[in-house]
Each structure stands twice: as C-alpha cells, then as structure tokens.
C-alpha cells in the first residue's frame, strides 16, 4: 500500500510538471497582453506533430527535435501575433476572444485535413523504458519531460527577472502605459511574448509526444487543464503556474486513487473553485 501511495505521488508530480510547462506559456501570453489564448492546446498539438514528423520523416529523435520545435513554434507564434492577434488587439474584448477561439478550431481542423484524425504514437525513442526504484515505477520519458519542465521554468524565471528584455516583458505585464512611456516598444514585447509562449508549449508538445498519443484533437483536454492551472496559479504568474501545475497533477492522481477515478477531474476543478473563493487572484497572482 505505501508503494502505491509513493507511486501515485510520483506520477502526480510527473504529470503535474507537464501541466506546468504547458501552462507557463499560456500565463505569459495572458499576463502581457490580457488575451486568452484559446488556441494554446492546438499549439501543443502542433508541437507534438512537429516532433512526430521530424522523427518519422527524418529520424530525428524527439530529444533533439526539442530545439527545432522551440524555434519553429517561436516563429509561428510571432507570425500569428503579427498577422492575426495584433489586428484585433485594438478591437473590442469579444473580438480578441473570438479570434483565438476561431484559430483553435481552424488549426485542429487543418490538422485533421492534412494528417487525418488517426491516432499516432512514436515508436520507442531514446527516451524509453521505466526505472524501478523500490516499489515505484518511473517512466523515463515522463521523468525527462519533468526535468525539461523544471529547466524551462527556471530559465524563464531568470530570463524575466535578470535580462533587460525580460524586465521589459514584466514591466509591460504590470503597466502597459507606463512601460510605453518608459520607452519600451510594447508591440515588440507583445509579439516576443506570444512567440515565447508558443515556443514553450511547443517544447511541452515535443516532450509529450514521447509518451502520449498524438491526434488532432489532443489539445482540447490539455488546454482545458492549462486554463485551470493558470487561473489557480494566478493570471500572469510564472511561479504560480509552476506550483499550480504540480498541485493539479497531485490532486488528480491522489484524488483518483483514494476516491473514484471518474471524479478525478471534478476534484481538480473543485480545488480550483475553493482557491478562487478564498483568493480570487489565484495563488501567486497580484
């Protein structure tokens, strides 16, 4: 029995760190631009497919395709911001909502059109197998993804706090107008944040592709959970998203194990509801 408790704790932590990585990009975009990116789950799906095709067509192992995913998704994010999102930034709030919403449906359907709705799994890659530590089985791809998530979060944290560009992003997040007055090119910051947000979720997709099945609608579920994580951690807060991701992962596995698995997502959302009842701004929001 204690073995299973440890197992569930470990798995909760691993899946939670994956949620963190997905949510960090989302929270960044929200924090800087006040835009809810409904297409975030679809960006994840694109990351997964990028990794899948790089492996299938060119034999590039997902671990090496991570930087490629980062760059490709970064460029795509910038382009989407430049040609689509920036156009509606001046429009009413509803237009901003609808544009990413429409984008998510468009991307998912485009993926169905090009890649069919079939399910795909990568064959065993360099990251495979399980570690048996005592009575606990740790899946190596999940451990690698979690490490990746920790590294990415730490990098993001230092990038935002220590570099000039990072500080400019934070400044824009806090007060756009003041940032403008201080000579920050907020338009550039916007497109940069959108690019980084997309790139981070692209990396998450590459990691996820090593152990999860890939299909055009895969973004739906992960996207919903990412929203929950962002709201729980506090909109715009990187540290918040990181902690909230782990919390959600643990709530899901432990809740499912000790109560009824069919209610595990209900437990996750209940924790979220209780949190915003006590702290409407989320755990680390301001």
């Amino acid at each position: 029995m204690p073995d299973q408790l440890l197992q569930q704790l470990a798995d909760g932590l691993l899946i939670g760190l994956m949620y963190s990585l997905i949510a960090i990009g989302l929270t960044l975009i929200w924090g800087v631009m006040n835009i809810v990116n409904f297409a975030h789950g679809e960006f994840l799906m694109l990351g997964m497919f990028t990794s899948f095709w790089l492996f299938t067509l060119y034999g590039i192992d997902p671990i090496f395709s991570i930087p490629i995913c980062f760059v490709l998704m970064f460029v795509m994010g910038m382009l989407i911001y430049r040609f689509i999102v920036s156009k509606v930034m001046k429009g009413p709030m509803l237009a901003q909502l609808v544009v990413t919403f429409g984008l998510s449906i468009f991307i998912a359907n485009l993926a169905v059109y090009f890649w069919t709705p079939d399910f795909r799994l990568l064959p065993p890659t360099m990251l495979q197998g399980t570690w048996q530590i005592g009575g606990v089985a740790l899946s190596i791809p999940k451990v690698a993804a979690s490490l990746g998530s920790v590294i990415a979060s730490v990098c993001m944290f230092f990038f935002l706090k220590r570099t000039k560009t990072g500080k400019a992003i934070l400044a824009t997040e806090m007060d756009r107008e003041a940032a403008l007055l201080m000579g920050i090119n907020t338009e550039r910051i916007n497109s940069l944040s959108f690019g980084i947000g997309a790139a981070l979720v692209g990396v998450a997709g590459a990691f996820l592709s090593t152990y999860y099945y890939i299909y055009p609608q895969v973004g739906g579920l992960f996207g919903t959970i990412a929203f929950c994580v962002v709201a729980l951690g506090g909109f715009g807060s990187i540290e918040g998203a990181f902690i909230a991701g782990i919390l959600v992962g643990l709530a899901q596995t432990l809740g499912g194990f000790y109560f009824d698995p069919s209610y595990k997502y209900a437990i996750v959302f209940m924790i979220y509801l209780i949190t915003i009842w006590i702290r409407p701004q989320g755990l680390m929001g301001w």
Binding site: Q8, D11, V112, F119, P216, Q217, G223, T224, T253, K264
Partner: protein
C-alpha cells in the same frame, strides 16, 4: 465547450470533409444536374424561344428517365440509415460497404453458399432486384428518426437496415415500429434494443450482454481445459452509455458464474493520465481484468499497464481494443490482450466462405473486410431471404417470414449455428460472440475453442522479457 464540439471524442475518425450527396438518391440528383446543364445552355443562347423549347425538352427528358426507371425490372427498395458524414463517418462508410457487397451478391449470380447468391435477384418475385436507399444520420438519433420516416413515407422502402450506433437504431426503430415496417439490424449491440417488445424489429448480431456472458463462459471453459483457477475479477469501464451498460453486464455475470469482483472502477474516457485507475487495479490484485473502453482510453491504459507493470493472468476487453486505430498505435504492447468480436479473417481456415467473401470485398474496395463491414453484411441477406419466401413485400408477410427464418450457420460468415429469431424478442438465438487474442500484432480467434485457429496464450506473459 468549444473543445468538445466533436463529441464522439472516442471514435477514430472524427471530422470528415467528405460529403456524400451522391450516395443518397443518386437518381434524383442526376436528373437535377441534367436540368441545370440544359438551363445553363439556355442562358448562353439567350433567346426566348430556345429557352422555352429546351425547358420543354428537359421536362421531356425527366419524363423519359422516370418512365424508363419505372418500366425497368421490378425493384424492391430497402432503406438504410448510417452515419455517412460527421464524427464517425468512417465507421458508417465501412458498414455501407458491407451492405453494398451483400446487395451485389443477392442481385447477381455468385457461386457462394449464401442465401440467394446463386440466383439473380429474388426468384420468387420474378427475379426482382434489391435497391438500397441510403440516408445519412450524421450520428444523431434525431436524424435517424426523421430520415427513417422520410425513407418510408416518400421513398416507399419496404424494410429498413442500420444504423450502427445503438442510440440511433433506438429512435429509427421507433418510427419503423409505428409505421409498421420491418427493421433488420445487424450492427448495433445495446442489449435494450431487443427488450422493448417491438414486433417489427429483428436483430441478427449478438449484443453486449451476450458478449459479456461469452467472456465468462470462456473463463469457465479455460479453467476446465487448463486446470488454472480464476477467482477474482476486476471490472473497469468508461462511464457513458456503452461502458456503464457493459460494466453492469460484467457484474451480473460475475455473480452468476461465481467470480468475485475485487475492483469496480469507472473512469472518463477522455483522460490525460490513468495512473490512479491502474494503481487501484494493482492494489486489488485481480486474476482477470475485464475492460469496456473506447479507443483513446484503450491506448492510454495499454501504455500505463506496461509502465506500471500491471500483471493479471488475463486482460479481456470490449470495443476500443479492436478499433482499426488501436494496433497501429500500441504495436507489440497490444499482444496477448483478448477482445470480443463477431468476425475474424482467420476463421477462413475453418470456413472457406469467409475467404471468398473477403476476396470479393477486397476486389471491390481494395481493403480487407473489417468487423464492422462483416457485421452489416448479413442483414440484407436475412431480409431478402425472408421477402423471397414471403413472395410479397407486404410488411406483415415479411414479418411472418422473418419469424420463420432458419438460415443454417454454413450460410453465414460467422461461427454461429445459424440465424433464427426468438419469437418474443426477435433476437437471433444463435448469435454469439467470438473472442480474439492479439498474437504477434494480429487478431486471432481463440474461442469458442472449436473455432479457434490458435490456442489461447494464458496466463498473460510478463511485460518484462517480451
């Protein structure tokens, strides 16, 4: 929510861009284009008298076509509702392929041991041919209802087939019951369909209750054959209509056959992670796992079983594990899992008819016959054979003939004793499931033991050292 717009999140193909106008009423649409083309020519000529003339001409053409259609040999129209577009269009198309091939065999002359195969058309009705009229349900029970009504009232079909999804079959058959039209179903598996006391609804194929019972019968047979005892069962099922009914059936028969249910776990099929479910399974230490799933969860569970080293003596499953998308995804990790089925190509060794039918299927469509196509294949034969014996297309006469149906097992493509309907429920009393085991990444029939093409691998080999 927007993410769940395509709700059948579990079927393999969800969104299709193909529209299939052509399949429904091809005749009428052909006339429509004829008319349009001649109209377009008129505009180009742009002279009033020519316009009048060609309108008259096209009207004549329509008259000519409809007259010639009527003066043709007598046809018997049978309606069929299937999900031809929408979320599970690929499944609907698969079923339609089976039906179309069956109609080809009935209408043409084939040297096959199937009802009416050797004669062209229905001999007792002067060689009348079967004509299928398809309607698209889009996978929605509402459309199933309205399309069935349209087929009966404006297309004048004399009988109905379809609709694959149990929920759609349920509503479509309510209409046929009200309008007193016979409905022969061979592709829906919900047990409740034949428990409604309907007089015009007949089912050829087995239902989930039979499938669940079969899996326990298999365990009993196995214990007798190998002397390995099975005591504890874990029941795992997704929590919508299909899964919860299958779970109910599992629990019912576990009690009846004297097995102890040590875990009773429901879950949501659309999950990011199933470690807590598998953790619960491991703790309960079952001898056998019985799992009713869709495809996405089947893939996720298989991976998690392996990862966490869940190791019962056997894994017996329904539905998800036999979807065409399952094996290509999990590959060798699917080996040794047992799935319920009505059909498997390897049965051809024992029953050459299956090989011959599959050869025809492959020639026509370029692919092997799937379980879906094979299930839908039988309904047209049952109907046509009954109509032929009834020598009439009157509903009452067909129903009477259906009650007297007694097709021997040798004239089916399944390992059954035959087709004969229960006088109360109209369920085929001989319908039973088979069990296939995934061996070397292929579905191989392993039960009933007398139809098996390979012996079952039991217990489930350890994940390590595979």
């Amino acid at each position: 929510m927007w993410y769940f717009l395509s709700d059948e999140a579990h079927s393999r193909r969800r969104i299709h861009f193909i529209s299939l106008y052509g399949t429904v009423e091809p005749f009428i649409s052909k006339l429509g284009t004829e008319k349009n083309m001649s109209r377009r020519k008129n505009v180009m000529a742009s002279k009033n008298c020519t316009r009048v003339l060609s309108v008259a001409l096209s009207l004549l053409l329509i008259l000519f076509f409809s007259v010639s259609a009527q003066s043709q040999q007598k046809v018997i129209k049978i309606g069929a509702v299937y999900p031809l577009t929408g979320n599970i269009a690929s499944t609907g198309l698969d079923c339609k392929r089976g039906v179309d091939l069956a109609v080809d065999i009935i209408n043409g002359k084939y040297d096959l041991d199937l009802p009416l195969a050797k004669s062209a058309g229905l001999p007792n009705l002067g060689g009348a041919k079967i004509e299928m009229v398809y309607a698209d349900t889009k996978g929605d029970p509402k459309n199933g209802m309205s399309e069935a009504e349209r087929l009966i009232t404006s297309e004048n079909v004399v009988a109905m087939l379809g609709a694959y999804q149990s929920a759609v079959t349920k509503t479509a058959s309510q209409i046929t019951e009200r309008l007193r039209i016979p409905y022969v179903c061979s592709d829906s598996s919900s047990p409740t369909l034949t428990e409604r006391g309907f007089k015009y609804f007949f089912r050829v194929s087995p239902h989930d209750d039979i499938f669940a019972r079969d899996q326990f019968q298999f365990l009993k047979d196995l214990e007798k054959k190998t002397g390995q005892a099975v005591h504890n069962i874990a029941v795992l099922y997704e929590n919508t209509e299909f899964g919860s009914n299958a779970g109910k059936a599992y629990k019912k028969y576990a009690a009846e056959f004297g097995y102890k249910v040590v875990a009773d776990i429901t879950y949501t099929a659309n999950a990011t992670d199933v470690t807590s479910e598998v953790g619960k399974l491991i703790v309960s230490k079952p001898d056998v796992l019985m799992h009713a799933s869709y495809i996405t969860d089947a893939i996720l569970f298989t991976k998690t079983f392996k990862e966490m080293g869940f190791q019962p003596k056997g894994i017996m499953t329904m539905a998800g594990y036999i979807e065409p998308g399952y094996l290509p995804s999990v590959k060798a990790d699917g080996n040794y899992i047992i799935v319920r089925s009505t059909f498997a190509l390897d049965l051809a060794k024992k029953k050459p008819l299956i090989g011959k039918v599959n050869a025809l299927f492959k020639k026509k469509y370029g692919i092997d016959m799937s379980e879906n196509a094979a299930r839908s294949f039988m309904a047209p034969f049952v109907l046509a054979e009954a109509i032929n014996r009834a020598k009439s297309t009157a509903p009452e006469a067909i129903v009477k003939a259906l009650h007297e149906t007694d097709i021997p097992g040798s004239q089916t493509i399944y390992p059954w004793k035959g087709i004969k309907f229960d006088p109360q429920t109209n369920q085929n009393i001989y319908a039973r499931g088979t069990l296939v085991q995934i061996l070397n990444q292929e579905y191989v029939t392993i039960w009933p033991f007398d139809s098996a093409s390979k012996p079952v691998v039991w217990p489930f080999p350890a994940w390590k050292g595979r």
